[in-house]
Amino acid sequence: MAKIIRRLAFAAISVFTLVLIVVVQGILKHRFLVFSVFDLPLIYCVYYGFTRNRPVPSVFVGSFLGLMQDSLSGVAMGTNGFSKALICYAAASTSLKFNVDQPITRAAGLFLFTLADSLLVTILTMTTGALVRPLYGSRFVDLMLLEIFNTLLGLLMFGIRDRYRNAT
């Protein structure tokens, strides 16, 4: 019985954490426009995949995060869900094959996954018939800025996590 309650509590905390990430991203973007260059749900997807090393739960985490992002934005439901599910799974699979404890590996992973997410979302948005801004010119600059800032914030999160683990 205690085990079931512990599992339910863990599941509730996990769901609450995921909801909080999406809510915080939306509010931070509203209050501080600089947060429009960060993608907290994506950073958390990569963080979860790299630290938990479990591909199956990663798929659910990514899907849930993506669907919540879709519900609060103007894109078709499933766009970010598809992308985040794939990326979260890829991050978890990568962590099983490579050593992702090194900052350089983490930076490369964050950079590539951010790029992959942007491309996937753009392609899926186009396939649903919606108009997108072309991926060149000023949009390319925005994309590169997003990559760099996302990578930096992700590295910071990893650093805080490592420090907390070492302290405890």
Partner: protein, 286 residues
């Protein structure tokens, strides 16, 4: 051959991806209907967003109300002076307004007002990167409907694209999926301005003979059946040649989309409001 230990991972991933693809294809066929999942998720997420937003507002209120008071006295004096000036302006125009209403009634003309609106607070923005939307704290219970026009006293903001029980998603006019039927205020040229995903609106392929110049004011034409006619939309910021025959016209919206705190959502357009009042109804007394 995939090892047995890795098979569940692949199966779960493929199942999830197939689910998302089915969800996407379902909406492609029913673009006018709100996604049922969006409505549920909206109702689940927005209470948390409102709570956090109210907490931030509370802290901000304490800070600006009791601590950050530098310049408040000067601002107060300026606002009092502007208030007095506006009151005198209103008084001088009241008689003209009454006469216009009397003439409109006697001629049987439709009410030229906007209609009935509800004020809504902006509590968040889209957490994604490919669209420009806002979340507000008014929804179905407050009379908000899909495709309702959203505005501020400065001009048009966008339209509602998702409605929950007590929240709604507003697509900004700068969103790449957005298009607004516009009218140049002076030359009365009609056009459709699309969002670019950035700060500006863009008009493609206008006739080279068009007399559009930088600084021209754009207003809504009402032809899109979403935004009431005559509301401020944008100001033309650049007119550049595109090939030999056409021009690209860019315009900056009148509303600063980065500083939206409160918006007005149209819940009953003027024509509907006018149908409820018989033409011979007496004018409201002061």
């Amino acid at each position: 051959m995939v090892p047995d230990t890795k098979r569940p991972g692949w199966i779960v991933l493929v199942s999830a991806l197939v689910f998302h693809v089915l969800l996407l294809s379902l909406q492609t066929n029913q673009r006018e209907n709100p996604a049922f999942m969006r409505s549920w998720l909206l109702d689940a997420l927005v209470p948390g967003q409102k709570l956090v937003d109210r907490s931030i507002q509370g802290v901000r209120g304490v800070w600006t109300g009791y601590f950050a008071l530098v310049g408040v006295r000067d601002e107060n004096t300026k606002l009092h002076a502007e208030n007095d000036r506006l009151r005198m302006q209103i008084q001088s125009q009241e008689e003209a307004l009454r006469e216009a209403a009397r003439l409109r009634t006697s001629l049987g003309l439709a009410e030229s007002g906007i209609g009935k609106t509800v004020a809504a607070r902006v509590i968040g923005r889209d957490p994604g990167r490919s669209s420009q939307t806002l979340t507000t704290d008014k929804g179905r219970v407050h009379g908000v409907q899909m495709s309702a026009s959203v505005m501020t006293p400065d001009g048009i903001v966008g339209r509602v694209i998702g409605v929950g029980h007590s929240s709604s998603i507003v697509q900004l006019i700068t969103d790449p999926q957005s298009a607004v039927a516009a009218l140049l205020k002076n030359s009365r040229i009609q056009a459709v301005f699309k969002g670019t995903g950035g700060r500006d609106l863009e008009l493609d392929y206008i006739d080279d003979d068009g007399t559009i110049a930088v600084g021209d004011e754009l207003i809504t034409s009402g032809l899109d059946q979403i935004h009431p006619k005559g509301l401020p939309l944008a100001i033309v910021t650049s007119v550049d040649p595109r090939g030999e025959l056409f021009k690209i016209v860019r315009a900056r919206p009148r509303v600063d989309m980065g500083r939206l705190e409160e918006v007005l959502i149209l819940i009953q357009p003027a024509k509907q409001a006018e149908e409820r009042v018989p033409p011979t109804a007496p004018l409201p007394s002061d």
